[in-house]
């Protein structure tokens, strides 16, 4: 029963921590709540009227929502970039920030699941996917695999972060016997969530744009560049606003790892572009639509070149050691990586896969205000959860908030 009592105290303290903050904190929360309210209103409209409020139609039946989902799967998977060096090579400076990566993964998976929910035509029937009550078409449907790995990954990360933070709250060291195997398991899981999501697309022979074996490696490369990009910024903010100690070494190491990922991502894209343009078959039409447009249909072209430009800029900034060490250029590079990856996945992966459609029809998709509002709302929910998680985790991990009656204890 003591565990239960401690956990209740933990929940109460968490609630108090979340409700405590300065003007800056509350303006940030207020902004997020505004975005959530606007997204919710838009979503209620969508429930009432239908997905016709989006710009999706039969020829382009998945678009912005699913693009965002795919991007965020990558962000969630990226926590592994930190976990591998920390636990496998026992590299200390990064080890301290692993927990932040896992908190990010939890929030990112939440965003993913919400993006799938808002994309469903009948969200109230989601229980049809639950084995037993419903029917999960496993193992035939790759979507079924995706449902399993995403939820499992969320569960693993939730268990680890709850256990680690709760242990710190009780003034104990977390149980290595529990955490170590789970963290090790989370490495293949992080790769799995992105690979399975890539297979969801690349398994479709009807869409030549996705039907490429390079898609899964490409997904991982872009994830391992844009995920840590957020962390870089988050870690610096933590360093600025809290007592959380983050060594320059850790940030430098993450930036170094990102340099490889950015390079690989661009290399994979180059390989794909070469294949499409040199072979010059009918199947290169989709890549052409993305980079040059087809005839007068050029909606996506500015997105394509913005993404290329941002990623090239990021490559230069991360590959030059001096630029990587300078905090200004580092942050410019991180934002460029994140924005470039976001455009590439959000607009460049799903939509050109559908344009032209399988019968040659060109329907030019561009997200409606409605979709932007819902998407902003979903992101705001994710950011709100991430903010709350940090708000609770950081002071507890720093030992500033403790269960009453537990002094600073020695490690078990």
């Amino acid at each position: 029963m003591t565990t239960l009592h401690a956990f209740l105290a933990f929940t109460r303290s968490s609630g108090r921590l979340v409700l405590r903050g300065d003007v800056l904190y509350w303006s940030w929360i207020g902004l997020l709540l505004l975005l959530i309210a606007s997204g919710l209103a838009a979503y209620v409209d969508q429930l009432r009227v239908g997905l016709s409020l989006t710009a999706m139609r039969d020829p382009v039946s998945w678009a912005f929502y699913i693009g965002n989902f795919t991007f965020m799967v990558g962000v969630a998977a990226a926590a592994v970039v930190l976990v591998i060096p920390a636990y496998v090579y026992d590299w200390k400076p990064i080890r301290e920030v692993v927990i932040i990566g896992e908190l990010l993964a939890v929030s990112a998976i939440l965003i993913c699941l919400l993006f799938v929910m808002v994309d469903l035509g009948r969200p109230e029937r989601f229980w049809h996917l639950i084995p037993g009550v419903g029917l999960l078409n496993f193992p035939r449907s790759v979507m079924a695999w995706d449902v399993i790995v995403l939820n499992l990954y969320l569960l693993i990360n939730l268990v680890v972060v709850t256990h680690v933070v709760f242990s710190a709250f009780r003034g104990r060291h977390y149980s290595l016997r529990l955490v170590y195997p789970l963290v090790l398991l989370s490495i293949p899981m992080a790769i799995a969530i992105h690979t399975v999501t890539a297979f969801l697309y690349s398994g479709m022979a009807s869409r030549p744009y996705w039907n490429a074996s390079i898609l899964a490696p490409q997904f991982l490369a872009s994830a391992f560049s844009s995920g840590p990009a957020i962390l870089l910024v988050v870690l610096q903010l933590l360093r600025r606003f809290t007592d959380f100690e983050i060594k320059d070494e850790a940030i430098g190491k993450i930036a170094e790892l990102m340099a490889y990922a950015i390079f690989l991502n661009l290399f994979f894209h180059g390989a794909e572009v070469f294949k499409e343009y040199y072979s010059n078959t009918e199947h290169s039409l989709y890549t052409r639509y993305w980079f040059e447009g087809i005839g007068t249909h050029t909606t996506l072209v500015p997105y394509a070149w913005t993404a290329v430009g941002l990623q090239l800029l990021a490559l230069v900034l991360f590959i030059v050691p001096a630029a990587r060490r300078n905090s200004v250029t580092l942050n410019v590079g991180a934002v460029a990586t994140y924005a470039g990856g976001y455009i590439e996945k959000g607009m460049g992966l799903i939509i050109p896969g559908f344009t032209p459609d399988t019968l040659g029809e060109i329907y030019e998709y561009s997200p409606t205000m409605h979709e932007l509002r819902v998407a902003a709302g979903v992101f705001a929910i994710g950011f709100l959860v991430f903010t709350f998680l940090l708000r609770v985790a950081v002071p507890i991990l720093l030992g500033q908030v403790r269960l009453a009656g537990t002094g600073t204890q020695a490690l078990e």
Binding site: L51, W62, L120, V133, N137, M143, M204, S206
Partner: protein, 299 residues
């Protein structure tokens, strides 16, 4: 959650804990059983008697909604029947009567418009080439010089990508080869639309509308009964007709007799004659979907 229970807890109240966990398990099992046995279910899994009950319910519901006698058939596949379709490209004039006969027969939404058949106009010099196809041709008269027409609807694939990808098993191929959707089980994820190489699946982006006067009251539970908003629908070879031995509406209406239909397992059927004697092709044969919809050049 990771709250390790100590041996102490268990030893203190052995009976109450056992009873409580037993009751919890029993309640969960009962709830699960009730949901699975009595709750809504994939129509594929329900028994014939239960299906007839469900169909009776929707019959009454539709009759009340549209103010006319609606019949909803639960006819299953007949043994020894595998439906096949053939279309004579050299005869098709691109008049699109099939498109509208299909809309009327199958209660497709009039606003927004949903068409299960799409007629593609192609250039003779390009051959069958989707990249240069046009489905929005509007000449004063068809057929146009230098053009030919390829109507495309569901190809009723033997290895259907749409059924493979569906995460809830809401779509499947019946024993007579017709690929169907359970409109009550579909969650509207649209994986099937991404997987279909023939653009044969259509989503209800908003509530479909058919005026009561236009509703075809002769329905099948897997076919032309009204679809709700947010689910996917498709051509079913007019399941409500063909399981009664009639032709699909598009076959009946075609003014030039370009459309043929029959039982692939019957060696004396017209469809078998066409496959054995005409120059036959299927669309996108390289994708290995093995359509049961054959195109041929009869003249």
């Amino acid at each position: 959650m990771a709250t390790p229970r100590t041996a102490h807890d268990v030893d203190d109240h052995p009976t109450s804990l056992t009873r409580r966990s037993f009751t919890t398990c029993a309640a969960a099992a009962a709830a699960g059983w009730i949901l699975t046995a009595c709750g809504p279910k994939r129509l594929y899994d329900v028994s014939r008697e239960r299906l007839r009950e469900l169909v009776g319910d929707v019959e009454r519901e539709y009759s009340a909604t549209y103010g006319k006698d609606v019949t909803v058939s639960a006819a299953g596949p007949q043994p020894g029947v595998l439906f096949g379709y053939a279309l004579d490209i050299s005869r098709c004039t691109g008049c699109r009567r099939c498109v509208y006969a299909c809309v009327e027969e199958n209660n497709q939404s009039r606003d927004p418009q949903v068409h299960w058949i799409r007629v593609l106009q192609m250039d003779k010099e390009h051959g069958v080439d989707f990249a240069h196809a046009d489905q929005y041709y509007e000449p004063a008269q068809v057929p146009e010089e230098g053009k030919f027409y390829v109507p495309v609807s569901c190809q009723q694939c033997r290895d259907a990508p749409c059924t493979k990808v569906c995460p809830t098993g809401a779509t499947w191929a019946e024993k007579d080869g017709i690929v169907v959707i359970d409109y009550d089980w579909c969650i509207g994820c649209r994986c099937c639309m991404s997987a279909c190489p023939y653009g044969a699946r259509h989503f209800n982006w908003k509530a479909p509308s058919v005026a009561a006067t236009d509703v075809n009251p002769h329905m099948h539970y897997l076919g032309n009964r009204p679809r709700p908003k947010g689910v996917v629908e498709k051509c079913t070879f007019c399941i409500q007709r063909v399981r009664e031995g009639r032709y699909p509406a598009c076959v009946e209406v075609c003014p030039v007799g370009a459309r043929k239909f029959g039982n692939l397992l019957d060696p004396d059927s017209e469809i078998r004659y066409i496959i054995e004697h005409e120059r036959v092709m299927v669309l996108k044969e390289e994708l290995n979907t093995m359509p049961k919809f054959f195109y041929f050049y009869g003249t």
